[in-house]
Amino acid sequence: MKITALATVLTLWPFFASADVTISDGWARASILASRPAAAYLTLTSNQSDQLVAITTPIAGNVTIHAVETDNDGISRMVEVDGLDLPSREPVTLAPGSMHLMLMGLSEKLEEGTDLPLILTFASGARMEISVPVLGPGAMRPQEQQP
């Protein structure tokens, strides 16, 4: 019986493991006006090559992944990323001044101290529901990090 259970776990293990994405340092910035887009940031590490293809949240009309491209003249442009590539075991970080999740059509302001639910869908078929803390509008990083 025990051996059967162990065998089952070992057999199924690759399937569980195949869609294993670790999310860390997730946070959103409190929005100033409900009519203005908000930004959320996180770090994704997948144990296999995958792609983040969609993000939704019940409180925003749509969520897009944006990269910021800055040219030699210091001009910054936002570029929509259709699918965010997640190389195997390589952390991909969305942080202020570079990549971010842009939340538009907010049904309410993102208030500091609340949590923002996010649903992430991956090319592998994996789906994750997470919730990230909403920090102040002037926040620059996940939490107060020790220097």
């Binding site: 910054s76 442009r77 936002m78 538009m104």
Partner: protein, 213 residues
């Protein structure tokens, strides 16, 4: 180079060497003085080569309280100026939060510095929008808006650049691409230095500004 004629006397060869040497020295001298002139500028000439010297704080805009203002309203203070727009989800809040940290770090010296945020999207960034937006970052942050023409003129005087980019994923279907520079202007309105958020921690910028006050 042609092959040296075998009949050339040593004297003629020496003369030729001296002549060529002189020509090369003159060319090098002219090139060096021209390069120095380009690099350092020359106070005695009216023409100035430095592009930075042309950046100047000159504008006629409306502040977030509805007052019409010009650069003259801030001449007794140094100015920390950033161009952006309130529909910008990342760079603008990040930079304004950074400027707010710098102002806080200046402590008692903060009243000698006016932090100014000029919108490049006056169509949406009206006075009430600017009022609510700037108050979130810092009580002393000044938000400036105006007509399209007024904003374009201010941007020209600061030698900065912005452009409307149509994008279906953006609020109202467009973003504003813009430069992410923070200008430090002297109380006279003349250019002092330019920075970028991420270029140095806020502590370092606050220290640098304090030394100049």
């Amino acid at each position: 180079m042609s092959i040296e004629p075998s009949e050339t006397s040593p004297k003629a060869r020496l003369l030729r060497t001296i002549l060529w040497g002189t020509v090369i020295l003159v060319i090098a001298g002219v090139a060096i003085s021209w390069a120095l002139d380009m690099y350092l500028g020359n106070g005695s000439k009216t023409v100035r080569y430095s592009g930075e010297a042309d950046i100047r704080s000159e504008f006629s805009l409306t502040d977030h309280t509805g007052q019409e203002v010009t650069q003259a309203d801030y001449t007794y203070r140094w100015q920390l100026v950033f161009f952006g727009f309130t529909n910008c989800p990342d760079i603008c809040p990040t930079t304004l939060a950074y400027m707010a940290s710098v102002v806080d770090l200046l402590g008692e010296d903060a009243d000698q510095v006016a932090p100014i945020f000029i919108t490049v999207d006056p169509e949406r960034d009206t006075v009430p929008v600017m009022a609510e937006y700037v108050s979130v970052f810092h009580p002393s942050l000044i938000g400036l808006t105006g007509t399209e023409a007024q904003v374009a003129e201010a941007s020209r005087n600061f030698r900065t650049w912005y452009e409307r980019t149509e994008d279906d994923s953006a609020p109202d279907g467009y973003f504003m691409a813009h430069a992410g520079h923070i200008y430090l202007m002297q109380p006279s309105g003349e250019f002092e230095a330019v920075y970028q958020e991420g270029g140095q921690p806020p502590e370092a910028l606050a220290q640098e500004i304090r030394k100049k006050l």
